[in-house]
């Protein structure tokens, strides 16, 4: 019998608006030099929903945008974020991951680092995460299906992780792979996608400060259905670039084949940048439905690079984004 992910009691969940205000309050505290945890020594408990202790960083990329609509400042609720997931390893329904991800054993967990780098090897998760100071970031999340959310992730910059392993000059791309364990991931028994799930970034994309390795959500350990124990978030790209349950990281010279572009090469590309001007072959990407917006006003315009153009547009200077989608 699959065990459900432990439910957090409603009394323990901070309403999103209060959560934001708490953030603002603590931003002042951090600015005054009161750190809430030591730099480094990230300790991630195994059980989903356990509170995380981390050095509070009030970096909120949403605030950096003058044009961001007001509703983009309030995160979605934990229930919305953890009960509506595309995680085909557990089934193709939006509620399948919440229902079945409880089966997944997230400990022991190893991350194998390899390829064009000076430091490689297989690391137990605790050792892999130890050097990093956790921080919180509230990012917009845009699915290729044209719905979106705003999510308060907890993690550390991907760039910090990459420099630790000292990629050589031959490392042009970073490749990530998900766990392959059909005994606990029932969706993997059906070849709906080619398992294990694979994703990748160009090395300069991976080194961009916005790329985020995630271990938590709403100040607590990440629920299994959101990609526990370790997942990637690339907020200026469509959500499927945010690979979940990472077990392998490799530096490569050659652009990797990613799972969704293998499944439908004319529909999902390697770059998958959020771009209202480049439609999906079957539907428009000009606008999106923000889950949680008022019922008759869910639809809002999609922003170039999901609103992070200031931070990432330089990566694609001179590139034909219709051809490299």
């Amino acid at each position: 019998m699959p065990s459900r992910v432990p439910r957090i009691a409603p009394s323990e969940i901070t309403p999103p608006e209060t959560y934001c205000n708490r953030r603002a309050f603590l931003a002042g505290a951090v600015a005054a030099g009161a750190a809430l945890g030591s730099a480094g020594a990230a300790v991630i408990p195994a059980r989903a929903g356990t509170p995380l202790h981390y050095a509070y960083d009030a970096r909120d990329s949403v605030d950096a945008l003058v044009d961001a609509p007001d509703q983009n400042r309030t995160p979605n609720t934990l229930e919305q974020i953890s009960d509506y997931n595309n995680y085909y390893e557990f089934g193709t329904g939006k509620t399948d991951p919440a229902e079945y991800a409880g089966r997944l054993q997230t400990r022991p967990w190893n991350v194998a680092v390899g390829g064009e780098a000076e430091i490689t090897g297989s690391f137990p998760l605790e050792e892999f995460l130890r050097p990093y100071a956790l921080e919180e970031r509230i990012y917009r999340f845009r699915c290729v299906e044209a719905w979106s959310m705003v999510i308060p992730w907890v993690g550390f910059p991907l760039a910090q992780m990459l420099t630790r392993f000292k990629p050589t000059s031959r490392a042009k791309y970073v490749v990530f792979e998900t766990l392959y364990r059909p005994s606990q991931m029932p969706g993997q028994r059906v070849p709906i996608l080619q398992w294990p799930y694979r994703e990748g970034l160009r090395i300069d994309e991976a080194m961009n400060p916005l790329a985020f390795m995630v271990v938590g959500l709403y100040g607590r350990v990440l629920p299994n259905q959101n990609g526990a124990p370790l997942r990637l978030i690339v907020p200026w790209k469509y959500g499927f670039k945010g690979i979940k349950a990472i077990v392998r990281i490799a530096f490569t010279e050659v652009q990797p084949l990613t799972t969704w572009s293998q499944a439908a090469p004319d529909e999902y590309g390697f770059y998958a940048n959020v771009n209202p001007n480049v439609p999906h072959p079957r539907w428009s990407q000009e606008s999106e439905r923000r889950i949680g917006n008022p019922f008759f006003h869910e639809r809002q315009p999609t922003l170039m690079f999901n609103g992070y153009a200031n931070e990432v547009a330089y990566l694609y200077k001179g590139m034909n984004l219709h051809r490299f989608f």
């Binding site: 229930e79 719905w147 428009s284 008759f296 639809r299």
Partner: protein
Amino acid sequence: MMDAVTRQHFLGLNVERRYRLLYKPAVFVAGLAPLAWMICALFGGFGFSAGVDQVKFLELENGKTALNLIMLTLMITPARQLAGLPHLVRLRRMIGLFAFFYALLHFSVYVVLDLDLNWHMVGADVVKRPYITVGFTALLLLVPLAVTSTNRMMRRLGRDWSRLHRLVYVIALLGVWHFYWQEKLDVREPLLYTLMLTILLGYRFARSAWLRRLLTLLRVHRGRRPLGHPE
């Protein structure tokens, strides 16, 4: 003979009364059940839930209900012929009109809740997105069928009425295609509908005069008795 199977009187009512007083009201209530369920799910009543994305839920469930009811109308002719229940046809109009009702609801949810009444977006979608073109066409084709569903229209059109209402085959095809094309990757459910439609249309094709003529032409069939009919 088929009539021998029909019990002339049940509960002291003849066939016409049975359908008018019993079966049709029952089917009417059943036809409203999906709507009642969706409304309950929106408010979390009776344990039903519309999930996190309520707009998508309403779109999908109204669309699938419309498709299911069209499939149901296509099952009536085979049921009449194979199970010997000729009077089932009396229910077909009501089921067909319910299908149109749910198709209209599906389109309304799309225009009002999904696109927030942005009519220029609706227009762009219908013209530029093939799966919406197909779906919209199916909806449009339902309109003449709904308009000519009355007894008066049946009398006025005579033989042409049957010809017009064969459009339901095209509508069913377009509906399944629309469902298939909007699916991101997991097309198992649309494929199931495709299989069902193939069986329902294949049955009609197998019994059609058209096939008989073709087979006679190919000298396979002697051309006297209709296929599948007993002695």
